[in-house]
Point group: C2
């Protein structure tokens, strides 16, 4: 099977003018062609996933297809952007039709759920599996939510719960027979991008800064703090944990929640008023995604930093701060 | 050096509002943001280059940076689209600062020449060097030049000369001490994307179909023929050859010219009128890029096919047809 047969068999699908009216030309020419709505900007993000680094060779291809697109949709969500389409570049050691069938099924299931079609890309041979997706979306001009808008006094919020994916990764690598694995595995392999909530936050004008949590809350929040020239005080006791993580020793659970990764939840800051908080909880209810207030933006003292606080287990917060390896950690 | 330091040191550059006014946000947030001009469509292409497949590990990093972007610019050229910006995903086995410095120099030299800035991407570790560039451009709505517009009677044209890159590759692999290598090496490693001419052809409304020649003229022209439901009669004697290739035995030279690859010249079809031909030569002169009429679009008989003709060496054309491995080849 050559490159063109492979694309035709697994990756070339008709573009639906009714479902994705802004896509004019998809897979098959030198380039794809789409339209950005009047009064909108184009939003673009790209993620490179490499076998052995970002996933194991034996990962179920359906979930890999899902996750490859999910991490990119999550980037659009973090801007408050509506997805339009994506390109897929894929390097494969061999043409494994069963693998390709499952991979493309997982990919297109998520693409269809977000009306975000595959419009182009590249295929080639490579020693390891290599996947690069570049995603395109749109946002009303001037309304994208960046990392640099956090203001002193803002609440810090996160969606969903944190740490399950990092816990799953640890179990897979070290305790694959542990009964918790099946409870948290989907959080690692099949993350749910928070696109609708991200767009709703942008429409409502409630979030001042936002990003998606992919490398762990501690590291990712720092991006907001540095871009906004502020610091933060975070409440470990408030960290949203799943029922599975809640049963772990608190030190372990917090470690996964703040220094793990692969959460693909949104972290955003918003004014600390009663009205804004109520409006945010209304949105969360509308989209049935829990949101949790986990901290406060504070003035910056020379460098942006995070102070982790806990009334429940102050010594654990302190220990956590030291063990995460982030030299900005502190507990006081 | 972590991911963010690496991006900051080699890949994060200020966006110039005067030179690239449509880029609103570049490297540094969850996604990049740009505007497509009113009345224009967005054009997107993506290419994945993998060490050992598309380039050798010891390729000069400056030329690799150049070529990685050049092949993508060439795809935009083939649509008649004007470049706006690109994302770069790069996987590297190690942080080699000398390599990164040269790679980014080659990349940005070409990016600057086309006012096509780097606006985002991803970096990660990988066993081999992996490079994926996704490029964005714009074209006035409805004016992109596709592969499916060729009409019976059209002239088939190519820009520049063909086969030098394939000859260079063969010399590098088999005769690295050959004195021709330095004469053709740049055609392989530093291709010149025909962006200005591609856009001019679109503006002038002269080309009915177009693509860029990346896999060899024989294979690439077939894409136009199949998409347009036509065939072609090609004149081997007319194939544009460099002075270096002209000195090879004609069978070898034609083999490189039609079955080689990495040419990154444009192949297009246009009406066979005296006026159009004159207008095309005027454009070629304006952009100082030779163009050559190499064949004619003919009616399709069941399947799209290419007939290669030569008055000068008919037996060579016939042999060439057999040896290229394209089963659609024939000579009569």
């Amino acid at each position: 099977m050559d490159e063109f047969s492979l694309i035709g068999a697994y990756f070339k699908r008709a573009i639906s003018p009714s479902k994705t009216p802004q896509i004019d030309v998809g897979v098959g020419d030198d380039a794809a062609v789409f339209r950005v709505a009047d009064g909108h900007q184009c939003v673009v993000s790209s993620d490179l996933l490499i076998e052995g680094r970002h996933f194991f060779a034996d990962v179920a291809p359906f979930t890999l297809g899902h996750k490859s697109l999910a991490v990119n949709l999550s980037d659009l969500a973090a801007m408050g952007a509506q997805p339009l389409g994506f390109t897929l570049s894929i390097g494969l050691p061999r043409v494994d039709t069963a693998w390709l069938g499952e991979f493309s099924k997982g990919l297109f299931a998520l693409a269809d759920a977000f009306d975000c079609p595959l419009i182009g890309g590249d295929t080639t041979r490579s020693d390891n599996i290599v996947i690069n997706i570049t995603i395109f979306g749109q946002v009303p001009t001037g309304q994208a939510i960046f990392r640099n808008g956090a203001q002193v006094g803002d609440d810090v919020w996160v969606t969903g719960s944190l740490g399950d994916a990092a816990y799953a990764l640890n179990l897979m690598q070290n305790m694959p027979a542990h009964s918790d694995l099946e409870k948290v595995r989907a959080r690692l392999e099949m993350p749910t991008p928070r696109v609708a909530l991200g767009c709703a936050l942008r429409e409502a004008g409630l979030a001042r800064s936002m990003l998606d949590v992919s490398d762990g809350l501690a590291g990712d929040l720092l991006h907001i703090l540095r871009a906004s020239n502020v610091s933060a005080r975070m409440e470990c006791d408030a960290l949203p944990l799943s029922s599975v993580l809640s049963q772990l020793p608190v030190g372990q659970a917090w470690q996964y929640a703040v220094a793990g990764g692969d959460d693909y939840e949104l972290c955003f800051t918003a004014p600390a008023s009663t009205e804004v908080r109520a409006a945010l909880f209304d949105l969360a209810q509308k989209f049935t995604i829990p949101i949790t207030r986990v901290g406060t933006i504070t003035p910056m003292n020379q460098v942006a930093q995070i102070v982790w606080h806990s009334a429940r287990a102050p010594e654990v917060a302190q220990q956590l701060a030291r063990s995460t390896g982030f030299n900005h950690f502190a507990s006081r």
